[in-house]
């Protein structure tokens, strides 16, 4: 499936934003991901063509930045902090509880396609430790406890 016309137009426009096609690559990747959740090979190639860069140049950037997802992800991506401050406040127990509840490990997606779990460095929420950010708007949630994941998973916590 190719990119929607308005997304194609936005990517073309990004070429003229700041510094030409090269800096527009990350912007394009982010836009594709915002709409589709992840960046497929086909979409990456299509965007590269729109920007007039090679697929290799686009891949070069897409594979460096860790929050550009190159595999399908669930409806909601959970970025679970594994930083020291979260660990000091019971982060491991929360991690184990989330994994047990969802039945997946880091880098995996639930069978129903609802959640993808990813570990991330400090999310800047140490005052909410243990913390996570969830969804495409990266909502910060915490402090999480192993017994109560409702803040993170809503009804799916039960």
């Amino acid at each position: 499936m190719s990119l929607a016309p308005d997304l194609r137009a936005a990517i073309e426009a990004a070429k003229h934003h700041h510094g030409g096609p090269r800096p527009a690559m990350l912007e394009a990747l982010r836009m594709i991901q915002q709409d589709h959740g992840w960046v497929s090979d086909a979409h990456l190639e299509e965007a590269a063509a729109l920007l007039g860069v090679t697929t290799a140049e686009m891949e070069d950037v897409a594979t460096f930045y860790s929050l550009i997802f190159r595999r399908p992800v669930g409806e909601k991506v959970i970025l679970l902090c594994d930083g020291a401050s979260c660990w000091l406040n019971g982060g491991d127990a929360v991690r184990d509880a989330v994994m047990a509840r969802l039945g997946i490990g880091f880098g995996e997606t639930t069978a129903d396609g609802k959640y993808t779990l990813v570990n991330i460095c400090c999310v800047g929420g140490c005052d909410h430790a243990p913390a996570a950010v969830i969804g495409r708007d990266r909502k910060l949630v915490g402090p999480l406890t192993a017994d109560d994941l409702e803040g993170l998973l809503g009804e799916d916590a039960r």
Binding site: S66, G83, A84, C121, G125, D127
Partner: protein
């Protein structure tokens, strides 16, 4: 408000002010005064006299960095000077810039306009980490408002100066926060640090003169211009000017952001954060985020600023404290840090790319009770190779070696006990203490 100039106006729910609301609080008066009444050189001198040190980690004097920026026509070739605000806050334990970005975007814009003026920059870019979506949105909106009000755009306030400002949302990777890596990122490349020299002020973004400053540093500038250098210097208890937006987390009852005079002690900050949690007895703390060396209770009364913390054997860094009580294991904390730095290495140079995962694996083994005494020699060698004056290309590995090196020095017996007892002795003796 005056004792907390940076955060005093933040709303508890962090809802940002509209431009009108901000102006009602005195906002943009400093910009009007600066651009209408002061020369760029005068603004720079004021920041110099205020002794504003960079708040991103290195503590380099902001004005000294700005003085490297050429005046219009001085740099060869055509094109603007760039002023970049570094909002890639990802240091473990750091969450101080978040509030400044989310709740106080107009304060940041004011500071950026004045800093751009002082550095002869006409393009301002704010790079913000992906996880701070509220910050990206709030700063972007505030920029639109400032443009509509004539504080940004063509001929700002009749000064004859054109200033454009925009937000670059990043997409992960801690190394983006290194200033030359950040420039690479803005150019649309992998964020691999550049060799210095040339320094960014000579050849930065797209080869043009560029200054990169941390969010908190920039947020100080309008206050210096509004209230004067002496006032700013007077906020501090030490020779380094201003308040500091500290952050305290880890084993404290109420982890939080605290704006307090530069030179406030860890004892005071920990008390303001509700005191030590766990068993209530402090074992150690990192004064400046994950990349700062461990200090012990004898350093509780050290005035926290760049000079004093360096003299105490650590690094003030981001001024964000990670606190450990006696039931928290520093070996475990170091293991988390090593995993973090190993994962976030850009992979460019061998000591960092290969050394950090090695250190991370050894730390994980030791923590799990599967370590050997000879591992400690390997860790010490890694510290030697990659430490602050070591052989890595940039400071990422040096930073990572600070907690490891000071941890081995200060808690060597605890490392050895993990190995001899084949488990974490702290967890064994205390269980997982409630925080």
């Amino acid at each position: 408000m005056t004792d907390k100039p940076l955060t005093g106006r933040a709303r508890p729910d962090r809802r940002p002010h509209t431009l009108e609301e901000w102006r009602d609080l005195g906002g943009y008066e400093a910009v009007e005064r600066g651009l209408r009444e002061l020369s760029p050189e005068r603004v720079l001198d004021m920041v110099d006299e205020a002794r504003l040190n960079g708040r991103g980690g290195a503590g380099f004097p902001a004005a000294r960095k700005w003085r490297f920026m050429p005046k219009p026509g001085e740099a060869p070739g055509d094109g603007p000077n760039y002023f970049i605000v570094n909002g890639d806050e990802m240091e473990p334990g750091a969450f101080k810039d978040r509030i400044l970005l989310e709740a106080l975007p107009h304060q940041l814009i004011e500071g950026a306009i004045l800093a751009a003026y002082a550095t002869h920059s006409t393009e301002i870019i704010v790079l913000i980490r992906d996880a701070y979506r509220d910050a990206i949105r709030n700063v972007s909106r505030a920029i639109e408002e400032a443009e509509a009000a004539g504080y940004l755009g063509r001929d700002v306030l009749g000064s004859g100066v054109d200033v454009r400002m925009w937000v670059h949302p990043s997409a992960g990777r801690y190394i983006v926060g290194e200033e030359t890596a950040l420039i690479e990122a803005l150019e649309g490349k992998r964020a691999v640090p550049r060799k210095r020299p040339p320094f960014p002020a000579q050849s930065g973004l797209w080869g043009r003169p560029t200054t990169v400053n941390n969010v908190e540093t920039v947020s100080c500038v309008s206050h210096i211009v509004a209230n004067g250098s002496n006032w700013f210097q007077g906020l501090s208890r030490t020779q380094e000017g201003g308040t500091k937006v500290f952050a305290v987390s880890g084993r404290v009852h109420a982890p939080q952001v605290i704006e307090a005079p530069m030179g406030t002690t860890a004892a005071e900050l920990i008390e303001m954060s509700g005191g030590v949690s766990g068993n209530g007895v402090l074992r150690c703390f990192q004064p400046g985020g994950g990349a700062s060396g461990f200090l012990e209770p004898d350093a509780l009364e050290v005035p926290l600023d760049f000079g004093h913390v360096r003299a105490a054997g650590s690094m003030f860094g981001t001024g964000t404290l990670i606190v450990l009580d006696e039931t928290a294991c520093p070996v475990g904390v170091i293991a988390r840090h090593m995993a973090f730095y190993a994962r976030e290495s850009c992979g460019w140079c061998t000591p960092c790319r290969d050394g950090l995962p090695w250190a991370a694996k050894i730390m994980a083994d030791i923590e799990a009770g599967a370590g050997h005494l000879s591992d400690l020699d390997i860790l010490r060698m890694t510290v030697q190779v990659g430490g602050p004056r070591g052989r890595a290309f940039c400071d990422l590995m040096g930073g990572a070696m600070s907690p490891l090196g000071t941890g081995l020095d200060r808690f060597g017996a605890l490392f050895e006990q993990h190995i001899s007892d084949k488990c974490c002795p702290v967890a064994r003796d205390h269980g997982r203490a409630a925080a």
